[in-house]
Structure formats: structure tokens, C-alpha cells
């Protein structure tokens, strides 16, 4: 049972980590908590359900499951990237030089707007995911493990490795790190700051959309307010790991998932959500810069 709970927790944590990356990257560069980020994840989940339903109706999923899944992920990622980009353009860029509370309030406003917009466009009832993926557990080392859980954990790890390589090895990644260290200096040496910020939002949104699609598959249903709690949890994960720190967000996400899963099973499932926020309070009191937050020079 312990091992099974670890797998449950890792799958949950992988999703938190993917969303947390979006928070932490934006914070690293803009020092802004993008509270609308949870809604991007929610839109990704909706897109996942809508696209997969569409592909099931036209008969693609039955014959080409892998192809249709790739199309769902890509389609959702493109859509969410467009939302992320627009969000930055409309809600944050005009406030770039305003007091730092202004973009924060703008972020909360966008979050409320997007939630209600999706509610009006898609209805307030739950949307249910088509049942096309096998749910029977595979026995692995004597422990039943859901195939979807393995899929989520592996996909997240691949995406995180991809992000790591992007940030460390590419020119754009280097520009992002430079911008995060000092925006003005980066601008002076010829980096297009606005472009770097836009790219940051796009990458964060793509990761959130992947999380959304996987969660939609995992739970089988979405509604317009799933982004709120997921966003707060992911924010907790980002703070836990040290906000602004990319490996920290990944670590924080996985820790949070494990704590929730183990806490729910060994202490009490009634207090499942309490554990996440106890951690947040604990971290803020004892180690405000987060677990990996001290190395400020590497905070991208």
C-alpha cells in the first residue's frame, strides 16, 4: 500500500509541479504572481476534453490513439499559449512600470474574468471525459499501478527535462536567465526584454495546458473552477521550492503531492487539503525563501 500511495502522490505532484513551473518562471522574471495561471490550466483541461470528444466522434481515437493524443496535446498547447501571450499583452504589459500591486490585482481580475467567461461559454455543469483509455491497473512489482498514473509521471518528467535543457542550453534560455538576473542590464546588452517575457508566458502556458489535458484524462471531468484550487496548490508548491527557482518548483510539486497522498492515507483524508496549506504556512515562517530559494543567482 505504501508504494501505491507513493505512485498516487507522484502523479498528483507531477501535475502540481507542471503548473508551479509557470508561476515560478513568471515570478523569476517579472516578480509577479500570475494568479490567472490556474485558469490557463483549466482552459487546457477543457480543450483536452473538447478535442478528445471531437476526435472520438470522428473516429480518430479508436484507430489512432497515439496520434489523436498527440493532436490533443498540441492543440491544447497552442490554444493555451495564445491565451498566455494575450494575457501578458493585455493585462500585464501595460502595467510593467506601475506599482507592483497593480499587475497583481490585474492578475486576480483576469482569473475571475476567465473563470466566468468559461462558465458562460461552456456551462456551469461538469464536462465529462470520453471513456477511451483503459482504467484497469497494471500490476507492477505486486502493486496495482494505473497506466494513466505512469503516463502522467513520465510525461511530466520529459517536459521538465525539456524545460531544463531549454533554459540551460539555448540562446533564448540564456536570455531568460539574464533577464531574470537584471532586466535593465539584459536590455542594455541587446536582449529584447518584451520578447523574453512573452516566451516565458508561452512556455508556462504550454506546461499548464499539458497538466490540464492530463488531469482531464486522469479524473475524467472538468469544470470551470478547477483552476482555482489547482492554482493555489501549485503556488504553494512554487513557494515551497523557493519561488523563482525552476528545480525548486519541480521539487515542491512532488513533495506536495506526496504529502497530500500519504497524509490522506495515514493521518486522515478529511484533512487532505489542510496539509498543503500547513506546509505553506510552515515554509513561510521557517524558511521564507523556500527549500532551494537561496541561490538567488540561479533563480530562473
Amino acid at each position: 500500500m505504501f508504494f501505491q500511495q507513493i505512485v498516487n502522490g507522484l502523479a498528483l505532484g507531477a501535475v502540481y509541479a507542471l503548473i508551479a513551473l509557470g508561476y515560478t518562471m513568471v515570478y523569476g522574471i517579472l516578480e509577479l504572481i500570475n494568479f490567472a495561471h490556474g485558469e490557463i490550466y483549466m482552459i487546457g483541461a477543457y480543450l483536452g476534453i473538447l478535442l478528445l470528444t471531437f476526435f472520438t466522434v470522428v473516429g480518430l481515437t479508436q484507430n489512432h490513439l497515439v496520434l489523436s493524443l498527440i493532436l490533443v496535446f498540441v492543440g491544447s498547447a497552442l490554444y493555451c499559449a495564445a491565451y498566455g501571450l494575450t494575457l501578458e499583452r493585455v493585462a500585464y504589459r501595460p502595467l510593467r512600470h506601475a506599482h507592483r500591486l497593480s499587475p497583481l490585482i490585474s492578475a486576480i481580475g483576469m482569473s475571475i474574468f476567465l473563470q466566468n467567461y468559461v462558465m458562460l461559454a461552456q456551462g456551469s455543469a461538469d464536462k465529462v471525459f470520453p471513456h477511451i483509455l483503459l482504467a484497469e491497473p497494471i500490476t507492477f512489482l505486486g502493486v496495482p499501478v494505473g497506466p494513466l498514473q505512469m503516463f502522467i509521471i513520465l510525461t511530466s518528467i520529459v517536459l521538465m527535462i525539456g524545460l531544463h535543457i531549454f533554459v540551460k542550453k539555448t540562446r533564448l534560455g540564456k536570455a531568460m536567465r539574464a533577464t531574470a538576473q537584471d532586466k535593465r542590464m539584459a536590455g542594455l546588452v541587446g536582449i529584447d526584454i518584451n520578447r523574453v517575457i512573452a516566451v516565458t508566458f508561452v512556455i508556462g502556458s504550454i506546461l499548464a495546458s499539458a497538466a490540464g489535458v492530463m488531469v482531464a484524462m486522469y479524473y475524467g471531468l472538468v469544470n470551470f473552477f478547477i483552476g482555482y484550487v489547482a492554482g493555489i496548490k501549485a503556488f504553494t508548491a512554487a513557494v515551497l521550492g523557493g519561488i523563482g527557482n525552476i528545480p525548486g518548483a519541480m521539487l515542491g510539486g512532488f513533495i506536495l503531492g506526496l504529502v497530500e497522498s500519504l497524509g490522506a492515507s495515514y493521518i486522515s483524508s478529511e484533512y487532505k487539503d489542510v496539509f498543503a496549506f500547513l506546509i505553506l504556512i510552515g515554509v513561510l515562517i521557517l524558511r521564507p525563501s523556500g527549500l532551494l530559494g537561496e541561490k538567488a543567482s540561479e533563480k530562473v
Binding site: 456551469s124 491497473p137 479524473y219 471531468l221 487532505k272
Partner: protein, 387 residues
Amino acid sequence: MRVSEQTAYPWVTLGLVAVSIFASVGGAGCGRPSVDTIRVAVAGPMTGDQSKQGTDLKNGVELAVTDWNEKGGVLGKRIELLVGDDQHDPKQAVAIANKFVNSGVVGVVGHWNSSASIPASEVYHGANISMITPASTNPQVTDRGYTNVFRVCGRDDQQGKVAAEFVVTQLKAKRVAVLHDKTTYGQGLADEFKKSLNASGGGRVEVVYYSGITQGDKDFRGVLTTVASKKPDVYFFGGIYPEGGLLVKQAREVGLKAPMVSGDGVIDPVFVQIAGEAAEGTYLTFSPDTTKLPTAQEVLKKYRARYGEPGPYSFYAYDAAQVLLRAIQSAGTTDGSKISQAIHISRYDGITGRLQFDSKGDLLTTQYVVWITKNGTFEEFWAPSGT
């Protein structure tokens, strides 16, 4: 970056988030009714994950009101129906109740959730307005001795007893796990079930696990893994269908093969949509199928023509509205205590059965049977002996 700012920042943002939670609560008031109309109201979860049930309630009441209006209304006045959305939130339910009181509503059909009905009934009690709930089964709804509160459904102590008898005598379970959603209804039902289990099991049935889950949560694999490790023969769930559907689906994924038994909160097609194949062979307790009753056929035809297939509580809402409107007619006034009195002495054969109330406001005769989910639909499966 300055450290002090970094530490202060998350606190500020958390505070702002807390503020934003309450920003969504609101509601428009409307003036008093004009002299030639009488206002009645229906309330339930009209939006959100349980909106299907609220809509069923609204449709049932609307149908009854339309019937009455076609025959000339009540007390010679046109009936105006107000619809309130409590979003299955106790706070919102109180806000809606106050809004109804301020709009001069004469009687209310609702709410759906016990956790909404109980706080809202305090408001109706204070304003002396009759309230008939078609669906709230928690004993506390009528056990507080309010003369203005009625229900046209059963009680969870009756329901839990039937579920326990079924689990003991039919499923022959020895080890039972009990989950609930921490709401008034869910936890209340789970507790009644547990109590009856000890009584009808004669001490041979062991409750191996008892815990709550959070309504609105989507991931129950952690708690279900623990349930599976206790190896129960059956697990009981006190709660509503969005969580119920996810529970049976995820139970399959963590290797929990025991059947689920639940209550009337789970009977909704969305349960099957969410759970898919995992819903097959799950049991729940509910009153007998109303769409099969001969008395319901005429209304069923009208309902289908207008709204499509009725939900499990549509006809109870229709009957509740009938009881209310008949009481207003026979009381001959819009005075709240007179209407409540008229409901207490009324005896009316509704489409769901004989509607006659005891001194608390419960029905004199109610019945619970066990339903099974088969081929994606719910059907009656077993009735306790002696009914």
C-alpha cells in the same frame, strides 16, 4: 531582491485571494409583488456541479405553477415563480432565503441539499414562510420543531436502515468501509447507515474504515488505496453523484473491487457518465421509481414535452408545489402561519403517493428501495420485507 519584500509578498497575495473568494457572492433584489400576483419560489443548486438537480427542481415546480396559472391562478391571482440559486452552499442558501423574504414570497419549494435547507429554514421560520423540501433527507430538517418546515421525501434514518439491511442480508457483507462527503446530508446518512449496521448486523458486521472526503475534490486515490488495504466486502458512500462517480471510477483503478452502496444523492445520469463502466453493479437507496407510477403518467407526458426526461426529484418538486399551492388556496390567505396550518391538515394524493404530514412535517408514509446501476441506467432491485 530584498529579502523582506520576498517574505511579505506571499502573505499579501494570500490575503488578496481570500478577498477574491467572497467577491463572487452577490444577488439582485427585486421589489414587492404587484397586487394581482402571488409569489412562490423554488431554490436549489441551479449552477455548478449539482446544477442538474436544481434544474429538475425548477422544472417540476414550474410545471405545477403553469398548471395552476392555466386554471386561473391561486386565490384569483396569477402565480409568479422566483428561482433562487443556492449553489449548494449554506451561506448562499441563507442569502437566497433572505432575498425571497424581502421579495414577499408566500411559500418556498426547496432546497435540494440538507446543508442548504437547514440554514435557509431558519430564515423562513423567522419570517413565517412555509417551506417544503422535495429532497432534503437529513433528520435535522424537520426535527427542530418548526411548524413551517415540511418535506415530501423520506428521512436518512429510514434510508440508512434500508441500506444497512440490504448490505447485511443480501450482500452478506462482514467487513464494511464507510465514506462520506462531510456535508450535513452525506455525513448524516453515513452515520445513520453505520448505526443501523450495528443493529441489523447483530455485531457480526465490522466497520473497517470510516472517513470523510472533501466535496469538490477530484482525487480520491489516496483514501481509496487505504480502503482497499482494509479489504472490505462493501463500501458505503454518503454523498452526491459528482464525488460518487469519481469514487467508483478511481476505486477500479486502485484495485478496490468491492461494490459501492450509496444513497439518494447519487441517483443521476451524470453519475454513470463520470464513472462509465465502473458504475455497473453499484447500489443505492431511493424511493420507488416515480416514472412507473400510474398516477404520474399524465404529468410525465407534459414534463417530457416541455423539458425532456425528468430527473429523480422532478416529480417530488411538482408534488411539493401542488401541496403548497393547494394549501394557499384552502387557507384563503397569504398569511404564513395559516398556510402552514393548512399544509399540516391537508391530505392529498399526489403523483408520488399519499401526501399527508405528521406533526413534525415528515410524510406519514415513505418507502425506500434499493436500486442497481445496470447497462448505464438505474433500476429497482430490492425492497425490504414488510413493505
